[in-house]
Symmetry: C2
Subunit: 246 residues, 2 copies
DNA sequence: AAAAATAAGTGTTATTTCGACACTAAAAAT
DNA sequence: ATTTTTAGTGTCGAAATAACACTTATTTTT
């Protein structure tokens, strides 16, 4: 780490000569409503950029790690707790915040939208936007969203992260719509179910979801053993992944 | 970004209530000497941790981005400029630096070791260590190195980044040794050359490398068009990538 | 009660890709 | 001339992939 320190540091307890910076965390929160992949945005209620759409974020405090800060902000602003949350990238351009130089570490979260839908709109004035209809965002948040989209697509092409967007019980047609929505493509359903079942990640349940269709589709749930064991393996959920925009 | 700001901010020009933090950048520099994958370390000449091995790093200054800071530090401490440098992860645990809380963004670099070998050891007191013989490092640098190893393996299994470690002209046997070294495995040379040539990334040259063997091996160079075009595609350089430790 | 509409569920086959495997060629050293 | 060393190449069986269409269960309509 620090290498350009003066010899006097030997007795110092602080790196007192160094510049200190504002540090923030911003969260790109993905949700899936059964049709479209969406992100959660809030409308800023104050200057600068009052009234404009923004990611959820906040400053990192003295006694918390970045992971703690991102979890705190997610919890504070949305009530959301214990969901998939992963560091995406740290954005450090000097002029990204017009008020004062601020370095921001972006995290992305994947949540089951239905668990939080009412809670969110009531308590926190947050709103879901389909990825194709994201409004103009403050600062460099647009760039963060683009990076998050690329990351989620990249990762989902190889690893089973999209299950984090579904409820504990889901049907294969629901899963397929999710993949088709994330990759903006259509997939042959015979090949899709073969692929997915071949992973060994799913447990078929006796009950059917009668809401989605007349006939009803069987519910499945994740086999958590296999899920954790195979998470890092390269699984192929998507045909011809190379030809897709990642 | 910042959301928990007081109303008085409306007329403020700074986020004056917020804590400021030390921000550092650390670089994991990979090089390949023809046999082994190595990283470049320096011996700290001052407290804290005087005499112990460390990654190259330094504090982020007021008027530079993180990318600029990492490039500056790489250049300052090693003379290295214009190489592959990618943000890895930001390490933000509160106690990672015993002197004072410092958040550090780690970058990894891939360089052609031969272009810098003498320069480095002479001018900057840096030393190359094989990945399997990395000494105890200061702070959380061990963790950073582990993360960088995972990243380089993961990425190299799918994308042609390892060419950044080779000189402009290289032979297929050299390339194979590099892959075998990175993945700590052996690969059938017939399958390897088929795979590699099938990517369309290589241009065969007329000249041979006579140093490596009696017969001599043809030199190849990257087809830069295809290299940039296919960089993001999923290429398979490694058989059974799932069975390897990524 | 019969017919129509809707979405779920399932199998085969041709093509492509993958991985295992062994010999010949070129040059240098003895 | 013989030996040594490393480069370079092809086949074939197995596995994975992608293209493709009909039947079933249930509700809705008539």
């Amino acid at each position: 780490m620090p290498l350009t320190l003066s010899k006097s540091l030997l007795k110092m307890h602080k790196y007192s000569k160094q510049t200190r910076h504002l540090l923030a965390v911003d969260c790109i929160i993905f949700g899936f409503d059964g049709e479209t992949l969406k992100i959660l945005l809030i409308k800023r209620g104050f200057e600068p950029e009052k009234g404009n759409w923004s990611l959820m974020g906040g400053f990192v405090e003295q006694n918390e790690s970045l992971d703690q800060a991102s979890n705190r902000i997610l919890k504070q602003l949305t009530g959301i707790d214990g969901v998939y949350l992963e560091q995406l990238h740290t954005f450090g351009d000097t002029n990204r915040d017009p008020i004062e130089r601020t370095v921001s570490t972006a995290y992305f979260a994947l949540i089951d939208i239905h668990q939080y839908e009412t809670q969110l709109s009531n308590d926190y004035h947050a709103e879901w936007f389909p990825l194709k209809q994201v409004p103009k965002l403050i600062f460099d948040h647009q760039e963060m969203v683009e990076a998050a989209k690329r990351r989620i697509r990249y990762k989902a092409a190889l690893h089973p992260i999209l299950f984090e967007l579904l409820p504990a019980r889901f049907t294969i047609p629901q899963l397929q719509i999710l993949y088709e929505s994330v990759f903006n493509t259509t997939i042959d359903k015979r090949n899709f179910s073969k692929r997915v079942l071949a992973t060994g990640l799913l447990i078929k349940l006796a009950e059917k979801d009668k809401a989605g269709s007349k006939r009803g589709a069987y519910y499945y749930q994740l086999n958590m053993q296999n899920y954790y064991a195979k998470f890092q393996a390269f699984l192929n959920f998507i045909p011809n992944p190379d030809t897709l925009i990642l």
